[in-house]
Symmetry: C2
Subunit: 228 residues, 2 copies
């Protein structure tokens, strides 16, 4: 921590964290939290790089964004590094999350321990099916979509998980935006247009599968990947 | 297609597709397949870039890997582009996939239309729970893990979906490798060590959520992201 006071607005002379660096920050957090819990006091850029498959030079470059945390020959203090990474990512607080679309994926996400561990709390669930509305899932009452604005406001929810079918995804995204949601994690396999002022991250599971197929073929030298 | 014959081995003088380009190829495919089905004959790099949030210059650069497909002022022929992208990614064929760990996430993945659309067919499911073995899920019999080698060989499966708890993920990954699986899509929120010769893609849903939180704050100017 080289400065005593946090700066509240970005200024041109200061480095900004790129989205790619932010993605790597998330990757670094996982082994670091594990090591911290296991009592490891310091870690090296080499250890961290090996754990996540990134060169130690890139690790050191990324971590300079956090200020002067590391010491040559000693490494980075594990706990401080975890805290600094969480602060940079904006997860040194909890986020209230609503979920729309109660199917199997929703049930899996409601039980997914990783969200709660990182400060994401699913506080309300919604569905358009009259047969589901009023029922409970993982201890939460299923609301109709008409209740979105009231529940989002009452629970202070800022993020939305979208697990509805392709056909209704765009309309529900807009309803979430209108209700005051500021970020949407979309699981429907389509190109969603983010409503104005709303951030969007899409999880396309088939893309992950395609990347895997690509890597398998690369590993086996089956695809020359020429300009043909 | 500027060359009549496909090259079967990579040679030093030819550009190789990077993993980042391959990831973008997957992104390009989604709107292209949609447009192709809708009867659109040609697309421009600008349209494609806008649909996936990438500059048209980057789109054009990426697509040069596919050879001379585009024509200035006319654009790219949609159908040829879809076929060339699928070939480059290695999904101009079907892949047989096994799934291990039958919980809610598995049930969601078994119903996920996106996999089958892209040529990934889940052909067998496994679990270690004696209470589940022998039962059916989405029309597939649940096998015990002892049957992995026999079933993988019989079905010609090459990829594995890993939806087991954190505690057993590493052991099951090794069992998949021993059974002949060449690529694993891992959903357990931990740093899995890929067994030798096996490609690994990990889907950490909390990472996606963290990226979303980061973007929301960036959008709202709440995080200065200085070197503090």
């Amino acid at each position: 921590m080289s400065k005593a006071e946090p700066t509240q607005t970005p200024s041109a002379g200061e480095p900004r964290l790129s989205r790619a660096s932010a993605a790597r920050f998330s990757l670094y957090l996982r082994p670091l939290e594990h090591w911290h819990q296991a009592g490891l006091r310091t870690v090296s850029s080499g250890q961290l790089g090996e754990a996540v498959g990134i060169t130690d030079a890139q690790v050191r470059k990324d971590l300079t964004y956090l200020g002067s945390l590391g010491h040559p020959g000693v490494g980075y203090p594990t706990e401080e590094l975890v805290l600094a990474l969480r602060r940079a990512l904006g997860i040194d607080r909890t986020w209230a999350v609503v979920l729309v679309g109660v199917g199997n994926l929703a049930r899996a996400l409601l039980r997914y321990r990783g969200f709660e561990q990182q400060g994401f709390r699913i506080v309300a669930v919604f569905d358009s099916d009259p047969g589901k509305i009023g029922q409970e899932v993982e201890g939460l009452e299923i609301h109709g979509l008409d209740r979105l604005p009231a529940v989002v406001a009452a629970r202070g929810a800022e993020l939305g998980l979208l697990t509805v079918p392709i056909e209704s995804a765009q309309a529900v995204a807009e309803a979430l935006a209108a209700a005051g949601i500021r970020g949407i994690l979309n699981f429907a396999p389509l190109c969603l247009k983010p409503p104005p002022g709303v951030s969007l991250v899409s999880v396309d599971l088939a893309v992950q599968m395609e990347q895997l197929a690509f890597l398998v073929q690369l590993e086996n030298g089956e695809r020359p990947l020429t300009t043909r």
